[in-house]
């Protein structure tokens, strides 16, 4: 059999296995192993490739950015900083119509700048912001929709685990990816705010009548000092992590480690984390790290297999041959991301798609950091769309109310998914938005 046929069959097999529920890392590594075995007709070479991937793929200090940023995110998530920042945002947007929705987006954007995962954001803000919105007579659908939509910011505004994964698969610098994510992340947050204001004006029934009323003044207004005290920890963390990376003072893994350490010191002041909670953070960090790093190891086997099969080069030649052009390539790629988003999770999409398209993008002379942004944003839309909208599932679990069903959450999140697609198109047309800070 021709090598590229084996590669193609392997690719289809991998997507099928992941779709039917096989562990993603296992599907990637096992099929790649068998693929190499078939192409080279030699099991010894296949075993050697597997061993090499295990021992050499993550043998670099940069990969420590995964455990460090995960740990920092866990500590921040458990310290109650999310609730603090939400209170402050609430105070700031008090007079605005639809202010609670805007506050949720703003607080999420700030929270996203100190955590790398949408899951943590969805869980935290379901608890602090949904009850508040329902209390002020926003519709349940809108309340959960805002939380789902803005939780996506967690993985677009740096630090972001998905960007780390992309950086490793595409061999780009983690720091560059982070810095490139700042403007697109803020742009998405701004677009969400705009959408909420427009929806409050045009479709108040969807947002809820409470959004139109002005909220009563609290008995005691929050003083500027109190606000500063509540925002302080997050501001300090953002300054250390993003500031450190931007100025080149820290490498990505140093920024993560220092961030985790600082977050721990700050949480000690708040006295939210006792020994039990700390143990839990360590264990959870371990599980998430092992899972992610194993995925990266498996993905390296997969991209080695694709390389041996010659598939990425072939795809590039073929696309060149049919003269697809930039615009149509992007259309095809985004549709592919959206389609995969309906069947598999964000991380798997990145791991499956990027090695396949990398050669094409490189041959067309396109910027790989920009391509990473497009990939991450495109794949993240899948967090909001059924049937595999992870953010929506997390909210469903966290809220635990029978009167709010999964379909309410998906419907509520729909406008935000549409806004996200709009922002993605803008990012594709204007690459400068992603690259301006580099």
């Amino acid at each position: 059999m021709e090598p590229f046929v084996v590669g193609l069959i392997s690719l289809i097999l991998i997507v099928l296995l992941i779709w039917t529920g096989c562990y993603v890392g296992i599907a990637l590594s096992l099929v790649s192993f068998l693929g190499v075995w078939f192409i080279k007709s030699d099991p010894v070479i296949a075993v050697r490739m597997m061993t090499l991937s295990v021992s050499d793929t993550i043998k670099h200090v940069d990969y420590a950015s995964i455990p460090t940023f995960v740990m920092m995110g866990m500590i921040v998530g458990k310290s109650g900083f999310g609730a603090d920042i939400y209170q402050v945002a609430n105070e700031i947007f008090r007079r605005l119509k639809g202010g609670l929705g805007v506050a949720t987006v703003a607080a999420n954007a700030a929270f996203a700048a100190v955590t790398g995962s949408s899951i943590a954001a969805a869980a935290v803000f379901t608890r602090v912001s949904v009850p508040e919105m329902i209390r002020y007579q926003y519709t349940k659908r809108f309340a959960v929709g805002v939380v789902a939509g803005s939780s996506v910011l967690g993985m677009i505004i740096p630090p972001s685990v998905m960007m780390i994964i992309y950086a490793f698969v595409a061999e780009q610098s983690v720091g560059d990816m982070f810095i490139a994510g700042i403007v697109p992340g803020l742009l998405l947050a701004a677009a969400y705010v705009g959408a909420i204001l427009v929806m409050t004006k045009l479709t108040p029934r969807f947002v809820g009548l409470g959004a139109l009323r002005e909220r009563a003044e609290p008995a005691k207004a929050m003083s500027a000092g109190e606000m500063a005290l509540k925002i302080g920890p997050i501001a300090a963390l953002i300054a250390i992590v993003l500031g450190g990376i931007y100025t080149g003072f820290f490498t990505a893994s140093e920024a993560g480690a220092t961030g985790a350490f600082t977050a721990y010191l700050l949480s000690l002041v708040k006295r939210k984390i006792n020994w039990e909670a700390f143990k839990e953070i360590l264990i959870d960090t371990g599980h998430i790290t092992a899972n992610l790093l194993f995925l990266i190891i498996a993905a390296s086997m997969y991209s080695r297999m694709l390389g041996i099969a010659g598939l990425p080069a072939l795809l590039s030649q073929w696309l060149d041959h049919i003269d697809l052009g930039f615009a149509w390539l992007m259309v095809v790629y985004v549709v592919l991301l959206l389609f995969l988003g309906t069947i598999i999770d964000t991380g798997s999409i990145i791991l499956v798609c990027v090695p396949l398209f990398l050669t094409t993008i490189e041959n067309m002379g396109l910027n790989l950091v920009w391509f990473g942004l497009i990939t991450v944003v495109g794949a993240e839309i899948g967090l909001l769309t059924p049937p595999f909208g992870l953010s929506c599932f997390v909210i469903k679990t966290a809220i635990n109310r029978p009167d709010i069903g999964l379909n309410d959450i998906f419907l509520g999140a729909l406008p935000f998914a549409v806004v996200m697609l709009g922002v993605l198109i803008v990012l594709i047309i204007f690459p400068q938005l992603s690259l301006v800070l580099l």
Binding site: T20, V54, F294
Partner: protein, 164 residues
Amino acid sequence: MLDRSVAFLNAVGSLWVLLLVILICADSFGRSFFNRPIDGVTELVAVSLAVIVFCQLPDTARLDRLTRSETMLLTLRESNTLGAALAVIGFELLGAAVMVAIIVGTWPLLVEAITRGYYIGEHGIFTLPEWPLKGLVVLGSIACLLCFLVRAVGHWLLVRERRR
């Protein structure tokens, strides 16, 4: 017994991660403020990561925290319980197969590291024998293999129980 050893291995991995975080911090402080980085931290971190993964992978597998997409399985479970259960068992066995390949591949490296006395790092500055690292990878993959098998058997017993 397996559960406890796996949890222990996991705890080793967790503490190792904590140690790395502290070392990276100390290294970067030392470098920035006293112009004195700690020798060997970069090398140590680089070789540690793969080992940590295999210390923690068994526990992650045991607690069903490896990434998978469950939507199809859940749908299938409603229409065809047996089919879904068999698919789950199949996926556990695929996991076991991968672990076997990793063990087969890493075992000779472990033997070589012991018999030839390989070490990591630069002589005179920072060195570390390689065999404990390779050993932990093999140990972790064996534990992971067992976890996948135990889970497969567990699912199988559930199926049999339901059929009675």
